[in-house]
């Protein structure tokens, strides 16, 4: 349906009216360009810096930011999980695997997918060390609620390489490869902390 232009409309005004009438098309194209640029690897999309600079405000403000790069450019080649160790004032200890998904039941591993995300993809990494102490403090509060009296909290990352070969007996739940571990954060809990 075309809206007839008034006889007095000048060409620039007609052009402006045409553009305004087509705002949905401009919006769809603009969004497509912005979302594509935002999610593409910088090396493969040279205009990315320019487009992202224009798109970053609206995409972040409205919650339209996104990424579609799971298992890209390559999937991980190690099995990983994160452990919490606690030493109590009476010398006893407690160990909890936080993201050992294979050890969980089917429902639990589904419900705790965000645990995997948080612990394996973020807390475990040296780049995300800002998360370590807040988590140790959170764990201390929870352990105290459970009746523990922690004097030391340790965060441990566990890993083992995946065999590059692909065979049924190399699946994580049956593979015999030994695990390695490293304590990446240790906190001596002050006696009066949080009381």
């Amino acid at each position: 349906m075309k809206t007839p232009l008034p006889a007095t409309v000048t060409p620039p005004a007609a052009l402006l009216q045409g553009i305004l009438r087509r705002w949905p098309t401009i919006l769809v194209v603009g969004y497509a360009v912005a979302a594509f640029s935002w999610t593409m690897p910088a090396s493969l999309f040279p205009p990315k810096p320019v487009i992202d600079r224009m798109a970053v405000g609206p995409l972040l403000l409205l919650g339209l930011w996104q990424s579609w790069d799971m298992f890209s450019p390559d999937p991980r080649t190690i099995d990983i999980c994160v452990e919490l160790r606690c030493t109590n004032r009476d010398g006893t200890g407690d160990r909890r695997m936080l993201s050992d998904m294979v050890a969980m039941g089917y429902y639990e591993r589904w419900q705790k997918d965000r645990w995997r995300k948080y612990f394996n993809d973020h807390l475990r990494l040296d780049d995300e060390h800002a998360l370590w102490q807040p988590f140790a403090e959170y764990a201390t509060r929870r352990l105290r609620e459970e009746g523990h009296d922690p004097v030391a909290i340790e965060l441990v990352r566990w890993w083992r390489p995946c065999d590059p070969a692909i065979r049924p007996d190399l699946r994580a739940d049956v593979r015999q490869t030994p695990w390695q571990n490293h304590v990446f954060h240790r906190w001596g809990v002050p006696r009066e902390w949080g009381r």
Binding site: M1, R22, P24, T25, L27, V28, V29, A32, F36, M40, P41, V56, L60, L61, L62, G63, L64, Q66, S67, W68, D69, M70, F71, S72, P73, D74, P75, R76, T77, D79, I80, C81, S99, M101, V102, Y106, R109, W110, Q111, K112, D113, R114, W115, R116, K117, Y118, N120, H122, A130, L131, P134, Y138, R141, P164, I166, R167, L170, R171, A172, D173
Partner: protein, 319 residues
């Protein structure tokens, strides 16, 4: 002889018609309803851990969060500040939004509630997010602008059941509706697959055919048991190259009307398989909501969903 400019202008005009011509609201209503139900499941899975992920006594205290997140983002925390009351509000918004979208009760208002709930928890702890959150956030945002209330709606069904006599003469609420929210979500799905395919195509293990085999051996994604024959180099190559072909092919092939249904069925099989072998919560389910946007309703107008009296359609038919 036509110049290249004529071809380009024709393509632009066709795009303009595709975006601006009104459409049957049913695909959007199906999308809205399925997305709403899945957003409720998402909320249910997140519910017990919300104090840990989002609370001030949780894993990310306010001071740390403030240092980590930059830029202005709309969220309920703009109103509540770093208060644990926000958790209750997010839960309330999530329930209202999910139910409203699912059942078609004030659907645009519900879309706003669902969107606000997801952007709020996404803002408060970005490290717990998965791709399914992106799909809910983007889908509910554009549903704020979509007119779907008249179809696939509990209030409409109740009204039709009990008040069909009194509704005569009223304008049916489910005429053809503006297409752009549906179009933008269709384009979003194509961008998702295209970009995922491009990213993967840059990786050596995707190019040598071992990527899927490696993923299936990783413990953190392991879900239900799979037959041994799937974990062989040959099948890994088939599945790896099949994934690349599907993700790069979908955004092109889904536009061809005669191929659309086979492509969507292949996608359903692909995601059903992924959901069986891989533990990635709701992403595989949520993406099927976006598939509904590509379906063409069986009858030519949404009249069968409208009150039985009055005209069924007030605009041009959808292309």
């Amino acid at each position: 002889m036509t110049s290249p400019w004529a071809g380009i202008l024709r393509a632009v005009a066709a795009l303009d018609h595709w975006v601006r011509d009104p459409v049957d609201p049913r695909p959007l209503a199906w999308f809205r309803s399925w997305l709403g139900l899945l957003s409720l499941v998402n909320l249910w899975l997140l519910w017990p851990d919300m104090p840990m992920w989002l609370g001030n006594d949780g894993v990310l205290p306010a001071a740390v969060h403030r240092d980590l997140v930059g830029g202005t983002r709309i969220s309920i925390f703009m109103i509540t500040g770093y208060s644990d009351a926000a958790i209750g509000i997010i839960r309330g918004l999530g329930i209202a939004g999910g139910l409203g979208l699912w059942l078609g009760i004030f659907p645009r208002c519900a879309a706003f509630c669902a969107w606000l709930a997801v952007v709020s928890y996404s803002y408060r702890n970005m490290d717990i997010l998965h791709s399914g959150d992106n799909l809910i956030r983007i889908g509910s945002f554009f549903l704020i602008f979509a007119r779907t209330g008249g179809v696939f709606s509990l209030p409409q069904s109740v009204r039709r059941l009990f008040f069909s006599q009194t509704s005569s003469g009223r304008q049916p609420p489910d005429s053809f509706v503006p297409a752009w929210p549906q179009r933008i979500l269709q384009v979003q799905l194509c961008i998702l697959y295209l970009v995922a395919g491009i990213w993967k195509a840059t990786g050596p293990t995707w190019r040598n055919g071992t990527a899927v085999g490696m993923v299936l051996q990783l413990g953190e994604f392991q879900r239900f048991p799979i037959p041994d024959f799937l974990l062989t180099p040959v099948i890994s190559q088939v599945m790896t190259y099949g994934t690349l072909a599907f993700e790069l092919g979908f955004p092109l092939l889904v536009w061809i009307p005669s191929l659309r249904i086979p492509v969507l069925l292949a996608g359903l099989a692909f995601h059903a398989g992924l959901d069986w072998v891989m533990n990635v919560q709701l992403f595989q389910w949520l993406i099927t909501a976006y598939y509904l946007l590509w379906l063409k309703p069986a009858s030519s107008s949404p009249a069968s969903f409208a009150p039985r009296s009055g005209p069924a359609c007030s605009a041009r038919p959808a292309r």
